[in-house]
Amino acid sequence: MSTTKRTSLILSFILAPFLVILLSLSVGRYPVDAWTIIQVIWCKLTLQPCPVDEIYQTVVWDIRLPRAILGAVVGGCLAISGASFQGLFRNPLVNAGLLGVSSGAGFGASLAIIMFDNVLMTYLLAFGFGMLAVVLSYLIARVYKATPTIMLVLGGVIVSSVFSALISLLKYLADPADQLPAIVFWLMGSLAHARFSDIMMAGVPMLIGISGLLLLRWRINVLSMGDREAHSLGINTTINKGIVIACASLATAGAVCVSGIIGWVGLVIPHIGRMLVGNDNKVLIPVSLSLGAVFLVIVDDVSRTLTGAEIPLGILTALIGGPFFVYLLKKTKGGGW
């Protein structure tokens, strides 16, 4: 590949999420034209009094922008963690929830909905139980001296199923008038409540996770050779696996706690990346981040414009992504599998 082509490709993957975020500001039930959007962003960034009607300021700056940004970060987190886990566990069929982070977070959120009915507590418990689930999976794997991959997977399966059972228990106990629907909607995923304060809070673990994975991305290649080979290539497998798991879990737990459970992105976006740029994690990891961000922002735009009531994201990701995946599969012949 020529250097100019390479550079333009890298640039487009970096710019694409920002472009999609900007475009999605004009998408929605309340029409806002491009000039108004530019005015609002300009005067908000420069802290000048805005010549635009108050209602436009609210729609663009307080509602659509945080939602688009959060969608991009959440989508990026789910995709980058999924890609990392696929490499780490040497299994193209796993996603970011492999070690139980999603079901743990789902349990935490359900518990908070029943006990506190408070958004902040929902975030905190979802994040806390998401991370707890990963720690438990890891400890189960530790029982067998080292942390062999298969034991981690098994630990994850066990912890996930326990938390799923507990979620069912909470649903059974929940008040069917208001708590049960709240739990069900949370579990289907939504960005509808996004505010800047959410981005600030959940952004911390998400950015730590993303940065860690971006820094370690080439090492994930080596780890995907399997423990024994990675060791013989000079990598301390226990430490490196632990760091990758910690980063991916921070990113996923941060994402899930504000958005609910959004399936599909963590599993399939990395594969779309593999078809486009190949399997080298040095390239695949950042590309997954970009693709996941773009994809979730678009899906969220569809979710809030398609019908009067919002369609939960967990439903739309598969409905929109599935056909797109098949199209790419046909177009790229699967990229070497």
Binding site: G87, R90, N91, P92, L215, L216, R217, W218, R219, N221, V222, S224, M225, G226, R228, E229, A230, H231, S232, L233, G234, I235, N236, T237, N240, R274, G278, N279, D280, K282, G335, G336, W337
Partner: protein, 272 residues
């Protein structure tokens, strides 16, 4: 001269029953040690100990004069490279990306390979004659080609010692000879040392005939039962005892002169 590798009376067992006990051997620069032994005699386990992947229960392993329990994985990986017996392929990485992974021990935790690492990997691929495959997904290679890529990855590690676990298992005659010729070339041109587990004693005869300083170790019943030069260890009697077979050693005369010995397994011994 400090031996490249010195294994001093090591013992290992997964459970209370030992896989092997009191195993000692050593390799000097430019030498090949062929490790022979029946299935399940612990050859691979011994190699895992030498790679620092398993910890022996007793004894010590000295690498260039340092005990391997005292040095981290990245240091071991700069002294010993490893060509696995079975490499489980998962993702269709490109051949050049696979070879590049040999550079891991020279890179910081957050670093990606530099231009220099890429040049070293390209050279390694060239040495095994696989340069034209560099842009291919390695999942599409044949067994022999895949094995050569694994050798190239080991070469990219730039270690004085390469450990190979049955490098020619599952390969046809042609690819078996390519691997052996590559080993001979590496030892002759670069003074590398190789420790290889093998099921074919003829490999030792081949290496010896091609001017390589070759040692043979026989492993059986938890011990090294014979260790020494090719002529001394590879006798009909000792081979027969090792594998519980009737073995004959025949001579053949290749076109380039000299004599190439070959072991012919004749029949098993049934104990009455």
């Amino acid at each position: 001269m400090v031996a490249l590798l010195k294994v001093e009376e090591i013992s290992f067992g997964y459970t209370a029953a030992p896989v092997f006990e009191q195993v000692s051997l050593g390799i000097s620069p430019g030498q090949v040690l062929c490790l022979l032994g029946p299935n399940g005699s612990g050859k691979t386990t011994l190699l895992d100990c030498i790679l620092g992947w398993l910890k022996p229960r007793a004894g010590r392993i000295m690498l260039d004069g340092a005990d391997i329990t005292d040095i981290p994985a990245r240091q071991i990986a700069r002294h010993v490279a490893y060509v696995p017996q079975i490499h489980e392929k998962t993702f269709p990485y490109l051949v050049k990306d696979i070879v590049l992974m040999g550079r891991a021990s020279y890179l910081g935790p957050f670093a990606a390979p530099s231009e220099e690492d890429m040049a070293i990997s390209a050279q390694a691929l060239d040495k095994v004659g696989m340069s034209s495959f560099k842009e291919r997904p390695y999942t599409q290679l044949s067994g022999g080609e895949g094995q050569l890529v694994m050798v190239a990855r080991a070469l990219a590690q730039q270690t004085p010692l390469i450990i190979m676990d049955e490098p020619t298992a599952h390969l046809d005659y042609h690819h078996e000879l390519i691997i052996l010729e590559t080993i001979v070339k590496l030892i002759r041109d670069q003074g590398l040392s190789v420790l290889m587990a093998t099921h074919n004693p003829n490999h030792a005869f081949y290496l010896q005939k091609n001017g390589v300083d070759t040692l043979v170790a026989m492993m059986k019943n938890q011990h090294i039962i014979n260790l020494g030069g090719v002529e001394e260890v590879l006798s009909e009697y000792k081979l027969g005892e090792l594998y519980e077979i009737v073995a004959r050693i025949v001579d053949c005369v290749p076109d380039d002169g000299g004599i190439l010995h070959q072991v012919v397994p004749v029949s098993t011994i049934t104990r009455s």
